[in-house]
């Protein structure tokens, strides 16, 4: 609450304004604007959501309806790193569930939860387009494939 005028930073506001130029109508920048906030803060809280709506000239409820449709706009806090585990058909055939269970055991959390140290959030995700290297996951958008329970630790260690 340091900023009296708007809860958005100058950089966020500038990035959102720059994206507005790409479209005929300000609402089209909605998803990008939410992603800009999320990039900076990890998630989108109510106060920022209202601020973005104000910037785009939208009712907050309208923007909330958009935000909550998308599974990758986070309206709750997440960890520093977000793990998306593919649970679609090619990864199913290749036994993703063994890896998924091992990951949950290693992190000590269930899908949808964040580790107590705030390091990782674990979420299921539909097909990540890495099917020739199934089972697959992304961490912060980086693809990791040919996963095995034994290989997980080395991957996780790259993300502080």
């Amino acid at each position: 609450m340091g900023e009296p005028e708007t809860p958005l930073s100058e950089a966020e506001t500038a990035a959102i304004r720059a994206d507005l130029d790409h479209y005929e109508d300000a609402q089209a920048a909605a998803v990008e604007a939410l992603k800009i906030v999320q990039q900076a803060r990890g998630w989108v809280d109510d106060e920022r959501l209202r601020a973005v709506a104000g910037l785009l000239g939208l009712p907050a409820a309208e923007l909330e309806g958009v935000a909550t449709f998308y599974n990758l706009i986070f309206r709750r806090p997440v960890g520093r790193h977000v793990i998306l585990v593919c649970d679609s058909v090619s990864c199913y055939i290749r036994g993703f569930d063994t890896v998924y269970q091992a990951l949950q055991a290693r992190l000590g959390i269930a899908p949808g939860q964040t580790t107590a140290d705030g390091r990782f959030t674990l979420l299921p995700m539909c097909c990540l387009g890495h099917c020739d290297h199934a089972p697959a996951m992304t961490i912060d958008g980086e693809h990791h494939g040919d996963l095995t329970p034994e290989g997980l630790e080395a991957i996780l260690q790259r993300y502080d």
């Binding site: 790409h22 479209y23 005929e24 109508d25 300000a26 609402q27 089209a28 920048a29 909605a30 998803v31 990008e32 939410l34 992603k35 785009l56 309806g65 958009v66 449709f69 998308y70 599974n71 990758l72 706009i73 998306l84 649970d87 679609s88 058909v89 090619s90 199913y92 055939i93 290749r94 995700m125 539909c126 097909c127 990540l128 387009g129 890495h130 099917c131 020739d132 290297h133 199934a134 992304t138 958008g141 693809h143």
Partner: protein, 422 residues
């Protein structure tokens, strides 16, 4: 790569083995932007459309609609903007071809966008990229900046007075965004629910303006058609269905991957030669030929040429050409439950049969998988296949969802019966 080989695999000829970025200079060396130059300097928009019609290129997003005909519905003489939208929301389970094209040779897509946009007289184009394809989005932005700097995009492309801006729109999940009218709502910043058709996007698309939506692979073919001609393009194929095709295979095959091959390559060649056959200890049971929403093909179809018409006549769809190979050790009920979980979760919720039917289907399949199915469950599944079929919902999500299920009920009835308790 030799020139001859490059001619046979135009879409992937530039892609580096290490999948590194192919920049403007490398792209130019392979003949890049020659097609755009020819289109702008020597062809009217209608002539570009005609070349694509003559090539018989069909949409590579899955539906196989003739691309030139799709463009032909765009009005070229109205005041106000036309739009071109590239559907790069590749999320059909089992599919990873557009990712390969965008990461491996982004300028090819940018050139294709510029030519296609000129053909439909669009002054702005959007490439709608799913969130998981961040590297693809980054490389496209880099390629767009390079192309703009070199005068291939922007206010006065090649001093032709043609003006084109290309923007990358990065999305945030949800399979339904790949449905072309839902994608338009997504681009407008609305909830991405499909729109009723008509009006079609060419009549009233983005912000009510004429809009054409094409898949990445479709657009990547366009520079090569303009450069090498329609006859050449048709000659790439083994069948009447023109061009090359990026096929893929995943599942328990020896060498999962994606390969650019002549359209009409047989299922057998894809499986045995390119995918290297089944992994040791696994036997072939069937295949979803074009992603999760396409009905099963089985052993009797192995010699089928994999093009839109042949696969359609066999009761399935070529879809994205991404084979999901199903083996004898994977639980069929588990696999179907997995598929229907995906479709139930990704339903936008607008139409009742889809929103309420798919979770029920998923539950019935989970019961059959666990061996606690009831006597009437199979009939209820069949009823869903009918009620979620074409014509009962706004978009193709529900029909796509029940396609694999209905074909499994026909091809593998014993697998369902085994799940009934008692």
């Amino acid at each position: 790569m030799t020139e001859a080989a490059h001619q046979q695999t135009p879409l992937t000829g530039n892609i580096r083995a290490d999948r590194g970025y192919v920049g403007l200079e490398d792209y130019r060396r392979s003949g890049g932007y020659i097609g755009l130059e020819r289109a702008l300097k020597a062809m009217e928009p209608g002539e570009v459309q005609q070349a694509v019609k003559d090539s018989r290129l069909r949409g590579r997003g899955g539906a196989g609609f003739p691309t030139g005909m799709k463009w032909g519905f765009m009005p070229l003489d109205q005041a106000g903007p036309n739009y071109l939208v590239v559907n790069a929301d590749e999320m059909e389970p089992g599919t990873f071809k557009d990712r390969l094209l965008m990461e491996g040779d982004p300028h090819q897509l940018v050139e294709g966008v510029a030519i296609a946009a000129y053909a439909v007289q669009a002054s702005t184009a959007y490439i709608f990229v799913r969130d998981a394809y961040r590297l693809a989005a980054e490389r496209l932005r880099q390629a767009i900046a390079e192309a703009r700097g070199a005068g291939w995009l922007g206010d006065d492309v090649l001093s032709s007075s043609y003006r084109l801006e290309v923007h990358v729109h990065s999305s945030a999940g949800r399979y339904i965004c790949g449905e072309e009218t839902a994608l338009l709502n997504a681009l407008e910043g609305r909830r991405p629910l499909p729109r009723a058709k008509p009006p079609y996007p060419q009549q009233a698309g983005l912000w009510g303006r004429p809009t054409v939506v094409n898949n990445v692979e479709t657009i990547c073919n366009v520079p090569h058609i303009v450069r090498n001609g329609a006859d050449w393009f048709r000659g790439l194929s083994y069948t009447e269905d023109a061009g090359s095709k990026i096929y893929g295979a995943s599942g328990q095959v020896a060498r999962p991957g994606a390969w650019e091959l002549p359209m009409g390559t047989t299922l057998r060649e894809l499986l045995e030669v390119h995918a290297g056959g089944m992994r040791e200890g696994y036997r072939f049971r069937g295949v979803l030929p074009g992603g999760a929403s396409t009905p099963f093909l089985v052993a009797e179809h192995l010699d089928l040429p994999m093009d839109f018409d042949h696969v359609g006549q066999a009761g399935s769809r070529l879809g994205t050409g991404a084979l999901v190979v199903v083996d004898d050790r994977t639980s069929l009920m588990g696999l179907l439950r997995n598929l229907e979980h995906f479709f139930a979760q990704e339903s936008c919720g607008w139409c009742t049969p889809c929103r309420d039917g798919l979770p029920w289907v998923e539950q019935l399949l989970a019961d059959l998988e666990a061996g606690r199915g009831r006597a009437g469950d199979i009939a209820i599944l069949q009823e869903h296949c009918d009620r979620l079929g074409p014509g009962n919902t706004f978009c193709a999500h529900a029909p796509g969802a029940v396609g694999p299920l209905e074909s499994a009920l026909q091809r593998f009835p014993e697998a369902f019966e085994q799940g009934v308790a008692g």
